[in-house]
């Protein structure tokens, strides 16, 4: 972490709340009515009618279709390319390789600058070098998708291989600290944790492994692109509109405002719908051919050029006193990464904030491999980090003959154990108490293997889930009030099924005192005010902060326009609230004027304001985290080892819940992905060739209807005083803690601890 960042953090700690921009409590956080109501999705009717237009469905005159050819070696270079057969195949428009591709700058790596979203900083098809097995070596453009697919098989490529690092075990020998783990130091210590561990009365010291995963959104990555002179239009499936525009602009040497990115519907993202080689190559091929281009990756191509979650090897060692307090919390380990990206799967982050301990040692290393750059996938770090930490706690509780929930009670911290900052709002124990009661935790027999129903062994498990609150800097919002008093709120943000469009319309209506029908929320296009990316459960808070800022401007403008003839005359912004389609005096309810009337008197047919969100200083002053208690009941077949999850309950503390319907879906969706993480999902990476061996939905097993049990979700709904709308974000937390809860339940059922995911039946036989 930089010295400046450190200094700011320290300084902010002493600043009173009211001086923090954006950190004074949002009055809306306590408002009920529209906010929190189970409003149905605004885009539901379009989606079920098949009329929501996804990126690969945008009509364009004269489209050519693209297919990629992938390298079959992990490292080395191309020695010869023969494209003649492919070029002669029917319908082929163009075969593009590094020999004829336009010159392009290398993408700027994600987080290297505010607008950079390159998945890695490797140049794309600019030279003969190969960096991973699957790297695109050619793109074929043809009149139809089938012609392109066919011609792609005719491209002949020969290589000279160089020695590649494709074995994690070997790569680990040269593991090293990365510069930082998302801005945090790779090694963090309080006291001498190893010494404390040795002297502790109770000890567990365990190793956990998690495999690679792929997002596998059902919508394949696709884009429809077109050049008009030096203006590039990209209809993309993306969770990062402005970043994509900015990064593409630099790659092609044009201005960011010459790139127009549109992505109103995204068929699932989970971290994967980012800027990868395909959009860059499609734009390059379009430039070269003078044709608009559609690229839709095959499922196999997605596995080859879209990174997934990386593999981890983690050690958790816990030392406890007789009374249950922790003396040592050690969480260390290594992940596979490449030299060209920066995504260290921050699995040690949960241990920074969850429990009190006398000493800490948290350390992460990366092992460089020649592979597709890994990336963020739902709850990066926390999803697999909680697996290790929460399983270890379960083992410690057993050794201490303590109920696992009771152990968590004894190590509940009063403030953030590593930053010492106060929690903005934390009700983890309440989640466990209320969730446990509802789930019937007291029916659990702590003795493993005690409950048997025929062939089936039945067990219960629980674990903590956690995910940080983050608010992305840099987002703006516009509010436009029309003459009839209706409003349009807009910002370039994303809707991938989370419910953003619905929830933001709800929030805007509540903030403006308008009925829902009189508010429209526009998003999904870079022509709108600059938005934030959708990731890390940050969108809702980040958008809301921008809308609050825009609303402050709006009120100022309205006061100015209202003038002396308004019933509001003389009232300042702090004496006004939005109500009944206009502004009203806080103290004298009778003094009220509608937006329509203010505009009419001022002779205006609309009023438009735009503002940027203030920097997210609240994150520096407070430890802001959502937490959850996850519960699972499993049945394990004593003959076959098959594991079935038969019941789950997630009890969440995420601040205010803004829409009960969409929130339920987000939580459940995360928990279901957690079932996959626990039991079935694994991207198989061949350590000899560096090739992914199961690049299909037939061999990569996402949870299906039969795997999904009854899932109950509940929440505290306690607003976070320091988050806009009182809400901390809900997209990621659902998956956290789930794998541990299931693994702990499997232990309770069978007496077997499985510490490497997924828990497949062979590991239980």
């Amino acid at each position: 972490m930089s010295i400046i960042q450190d200094a700011v953090k320290t300084a902010v700690r002493f600043v009173p709340d009211r001086w923090l921009p954006g950190a004074s409590p949002d009055p809306l956080r306590e408002k009920h009515g529209l906010l929190g109501a189970p409003i149905s999705r605004v885009d539901g009717p379009l989606k079920v009618a098949g009329q929501a237009r996804f990126a690969a469905e945008v009509p364009m005159e004269g489209l050519a279709y693209a297919t990629l050819v992938h390298s079959t070696i992990a490292r080395g270079h191309i020695t010869s390319l023969d494209t003649s057969k492919a070029e002669a195949a029917p319908g082929v428009v163009l075969v593009m390789t590094h020999e004829n591709a336009p010159r392009m700058n290398a993408p700027a790596m994600f987080m290297s600058r505010p607008d950079a979203v390159g998945a890695s900083d490797l140049p794309v098809m600019q030279n003969r070098d190969i960096h991973w097995n699957g790297e695109p070596v050619a793109l074929v453009l043809a009149e139809t998708q089938e012609q392109a697919d066919h011609a792609a098989t005719l491209v002949k490529v020969e290589y000279e291989s160089a020695t590649a690092v494709t074995d994690f075990q070997a790569a680990k020998l040269a593991a090293h600290h990365p510069q930082s783990i998302l801005g945090e130091p790779p090694l963090f210590e309080i006291g001498d944790a190893e010494k404390e561990l040795n002297e502790a009365h109770h000890r567990v010291d365990l190793v956990f492994r998690t495999p690679r995963h792929n997002h596998n959104a059902i919508e394949l990555h696709g884009a429809t692109v077109r050049w008009d002179g030096d203006e590039l239009t990209v209809h993309d499936a993306t969770q990062m509109l402005n970043g994509t525009a900015g990064t593409l602009a630099e790659i092609f040497g044009i201005n960011p405002d010459q790139v127009h990115v549109s992505s109103p519907y995204v068929g699932g993202g989970f971290g994967g719908k980012a800027l990868w080689n395909h959009q860059i190559l499609a734009a390059a091929a379009s430039r070269l051919s003078g044709r608009p281009v559609r690229i839709v990756l095959s499922r196999e191509s997605v596995f080859r050029i879209v990174g997934g979650r990386t593999t981890t090897e983690q050690r958790v060692a816990l030392g406890a006193e007789r009374n249950g307090s922790l003396r040592a919390l050690i969480h260390t380990g290594t992940v596979a990464m490449t030299e060209h990206n920066n995504c260290p799967e921050q699995f040690t982050f949960p241990a920074r904030h969850l429990y009190a301990s006398k000493s800490f040692r948290l350390e992460q290393s990366v092992a460089d491999m020649d592979m597709m750059a890994n990336t963020f996938m739902r709850a990066p770090g926390e999803s697999v980090g909680t697996f290790a930490l929460e399983c270890a706690l379960d083992e410690l509780a057993e050794q201490m003959e303590l109920d696992p929930i009771e152990l968590r009670r004894r190590i509940e911290p009063e403030k953030d154990p590593t930053s010492n900052n106060p929690f903005s709002s934390r009700y983890l124990l309440q989640c466990f108490e209320q969730g446990g009661e509802r789930f019937g935790w007291n029916r659990r027999d702590p003795k493993p293997g005690a409950r048997r129903e025929g062939e089936w062994l039945v067990g219960l498990g629980c674990a903590t889930g956690t995910y940080p609150y983050h608010r992305m800097p840099g987002g703006s919002a516009r509010i436009r009030i029309e003459a009839d008093g209706s409003a349009v709120v807009s910002t370039a943000v994303h809707e991938m099924g989370m419910g953003t469009a619905t929830v933001q319309a709800q929030a805007a209506a509540a903030r403006l005192g308008l009925p829902l029908e009189k508010v429209r929320f526009d998003y999904g296009d870079t022509s709108l005010p600059k938005g934030v990316l959708a990731g890390g459960s940050t969108q809702t808070a980040s958008i809301s902060a921008a809308v609050i800022a825009a609303n402050d401007e709006l009120v100022k403008e309205l006061i100015r326009l209202a003038g002396n003839d308004s019933p509001l005359a003389g009232l300042g912004a702090d004496k006004l609230e939005a109500r009944d389609e206009g502004l009203a005096s806080v103290d004298e309810p009778g003094r009220h004027e509608t937006y329509a009337s203010i505009l009419a008197r001022a002779g205006r047919d609309h009023l438009e304001v735009e503002a940027a969100a203030p920097p997210p200083l609240e994150m520096m002053k407070y430890s802001m985290h959502s937490t959850a208690a996850q519960f699972a009941e499993v049945r394990v077949n004593s003959v076959t080892g098959e594991v079935r999850v038969c019941r789950m309950l997630g009890s969440f503390d995420c601040g205010r819940i803004l829409n009960a319907k969409t929130a339920t879906s987000q939580f459940r969706g995360g928990m279901i992905m957690g079932i996959g993480l626990a039991l079935t999902e694994e991207t198989l990476f061949d350590p000899r060739s560096g090739r992914i061996m199961n690049p299909s939905l037939a061999e990569y097993h996402v949870p299906v209807h039969m795997d999904v049990p009854e899932i109950e979700v509940m929440w505290t709904d306690i607003p976070d005083p320091h988050a806009p709308l009182g809400a901390r974000g809900i997209g990621e937390i659902g998956i956290t803690g789930v794998a541990a809860a299931i693994a702990n339940a499997v232990y309770n059922a069978t007496g077997r601890r499985v510490r490497d995911l997924p828990i497949t039946l062979d590991k239980l036989l």
């Binding site: 149905s40 999705r41 885009d43 539901g44 009717p45 379009l46 989606k47 079920v48 009618a49 098949g50 009329q51 929501a52 237009r53 996804f54 690969a56 469905e57 009509p59 139809t144 998708q145 089938e146 997002h215 596998n216 959104a217 059902i218 919508e219 394949l220 519907y265 995204v266 068929g267 699932g268 993202g269 989970f270 839709v296 095959s298 499922r299 991938m496 099924g497 989370m498 419910g499 319907k661 969409t662 879906s665 459940r668 969706g669 995360g670 928990m671 279901i672 992905m673 299909s696 939905l697 037939a698 996402v702 949870p703 299906v704 209807h705 039969m706 999904v708 009854e710 899932i711």
Partner: protein, 157 residues
């Protein structure tokens, strides 16, 4: 080769290679994007449509098999303004998250309730097994199908 099909009740003549998958014809030639492309290999169910009331994976169905057959896609179940019962039920149960798997789910469910208007919850779950959803909206989908079944029987919900 020219093939004549009836798509959502309308006669369509398509000129194409005989082995072109129906999915490509629907999406690229007929501008019917309701059937989705999730794998092209029969592994996800997103492309499910009805051929004469039977659910088929349109990504695996070559056009040459379809001369004179009747195809129903999600566009044939209703419109945004006038959703059919299956669509209505999916809206009411809020089954769509990203919505990408949903047309395939609805078409397979439609085939089931046409074949078996009394399909129970287990049969619904069984029938939908071939269709994947990554957003995790499974329980809402199952509820929506049950609701559609009731709506179609005229029993309401």
């Amino acid at each position: 080769m020219a093939v004549t099909l009836r798509v959502n009740g309308k006669e369509q003549s398509v000129e194409t290679e005989p082995d072109t998958p129906l999915l490509y014809v629907l999406r690229d030639d007929l501008a019917l994007n309701g059937a989705k492309y999730g794998c092209g290999l029969g592994q996800c169910g997103a492309c499910t449509v009805l051929v004469d009331d039977k659910p088929v994976l349109s990504c695996l169905t070559p056009l040459m098999l379809l001369e004179g057959r009747s195809i129903t896609t999600v566009e044939g179940l209703g419109t945004v303004g006038k959703p059919g019962p299956m669509q209505q039920a999916f809206i009411e149960e809020q089954a769509a998250q990203c919505g990408y798997c949903i047309p395939g789910m609805m078409m397979r469910a439609e085939a089931l309730v046409r074949r078996n208007p009394d399909a129970g919850d287990t049969e619904i779950r069984d029938a939908l097994e071939a269709n994947l959803c990554r957003c995790g909206t499974h329980s809402r989908i199952l509820k929506a199908v049950a609701r559609a079944r009731d709506l179609k029987r005229g029993g309401g919900a």
